[in-house]
Symmetry: C2
Subunit: 228 residues, 2 copies
DNA sequence: CATCTGGCTTGATAAATATCAATCAGCGAA
DNA sequence: TTCGCTGATTGATATTTATCAAGCCAGATG
């Protein structure tokens, strides 16, 4: 008897191909928790006792040092986090907080490690997910080191456009101040960056963005398959 | 009969615990190649047909975009690279060039993937290595986003000090212009950053660095277990 | 309905970082 | 040895980005 409340995780590539036995083993001791918005659910430096999965809602991974804070990435439904720390049984390098009311599945790290050993399909999926996260981070770092803040914003907008199936008008998925932190700038400079993109056909109305001249924006942003 | 020329890779954690059979399988079709200094051995965008291992020498991973270039990391002997792209059978996100005369072992990606399936010990080692690389990249990104260039340099020097078993005088392992790129600044600003660290007891003579006042440097740099 | 609040924007200024130009130092080749 | 090259340094300047200080605005709250 598999607990149905975990069934949704089978939609996630990481768990798609595992056997019923592995699934049963994984979810033993696992639980689902509802969090309100703006709650810190993981603190960097703590040990990674659970692999986390965003079932619904939105979670921000962030880090702090010496009174400064930066957003590392933002996760939406069906994303996993803390996988690397889980596999190595190490402390988390990032903190996590909810940005909306969120449902989080938590699977004991020990279960993940032991099913990794017993189920080759799951092992492949783990490596796939780890590689994916690693490569996403490399892209992120290239973006940060090779582009100016305005270029990063331009490419961020183009990525949103693509992710929504080439929609020219969309809503920013997160607050601007968090987007600023993710893109490595201050909220003030994000405002000015938007102003700078006006000549390239970017129209901003609160959280609503319209790309009025796609070609012009692309010409400015120079998106790249190896970064974006 | 295992080809002895590959024996040294057994010193690398990734290959330490594998069976003779796996080893034989892995090294079938593998080869060792000697490169002079300053040769591009991998170009970003190319498919990852081989897992690479630095047997001796030094390799820089770098990326380019729109006529700009940045050093992502520098690898020394017994490091592997292109592991994530190898496992996912994807294109490389970074280029690689030798910084010294180097010996590189190249193992066909297909072999790596198939031994991953057949040898659970190797599978664990792969996940360990991937997690390690991923976490190192996260640390790198935190360093870049949370610290100023002078703070990054200060912490880089402290890391060198630690890596050499707490030696206060050492030689920079790479040219300053490459260090500058790795730390996300221009060579000119690296020079000025060194000057800025003089009051904290950092003495520079060409590639030779001496930390004359460790406590003062630590007080300025605020090294952090979750970054450095 | 008025008020309050937090996030956003804008302008002025400061700090950090890059660029450009010139010079210097070390090193290998002729 | 001298020449020529490359990388490092330094100064002057420009650009980028951050900080500080108002003010604005929409949504939540009483």
């Amino acid at each position: 008897m598999t607990p149905e409340r975990f069934d949704s995780i089978k939609d996630i590539p990481l768990f798609a191909k595992i056997t019923d036995e592995s699934f049963e083993h994984l979810t033993r001791g696992a639980f689902v928790q509802n969090f309100p918005s703006n709650v810190e659910i993981i603190t960097e430096g703590d040990t990674a006792d659970f692999l986390h999965i965003v079932q619904s809602g939105c979670v921000e991974l962030f880090s702090t040092w010496s009174n400064r804070e930066t957003t590392m990435t933002t996760l939406y439904e069906n994303s996993t986090f803390i996988l690397a720390a889980t596999m190595k049984d190490r402390v988390n390098l990032m903190s996590a907080r909810t940005l909306q009311k969120s449902r989080i599945i938590m699977i004991p790290s020990e279960n993940v490690r032991s099913v990794f050993q017993s189920d080759p399909h799951f092992a492949v999926a783990i490596v796939d997910e780890l590689s994916r996260c690693y490569r996403a981070t490399i892209r992120n770092m290239k973006n940060l080191k090779l582009r100016t803040s305005i270029e990063r914003l331009a490419n961020y907008l183009l990525k949103q456009y693509r992710r929504r199936g080439n929609t020219l008008a969309f809503r920013l998925p997160i607050e601007k101040r968090r987007l600023a932190s993710y893109l490595g700038m201050t909220p003030e400079n994000l405002s000015r960056a938007f102003t700078n993109l006006k000549p390239y056909g970017v129209v901003v109305d609160g959280q609503n963005i319209t790309i009025a001249d796609l070609d012009k924006l692309i010409e400015f942003a120079i998106p790249d398959d190896l970064i974006d």
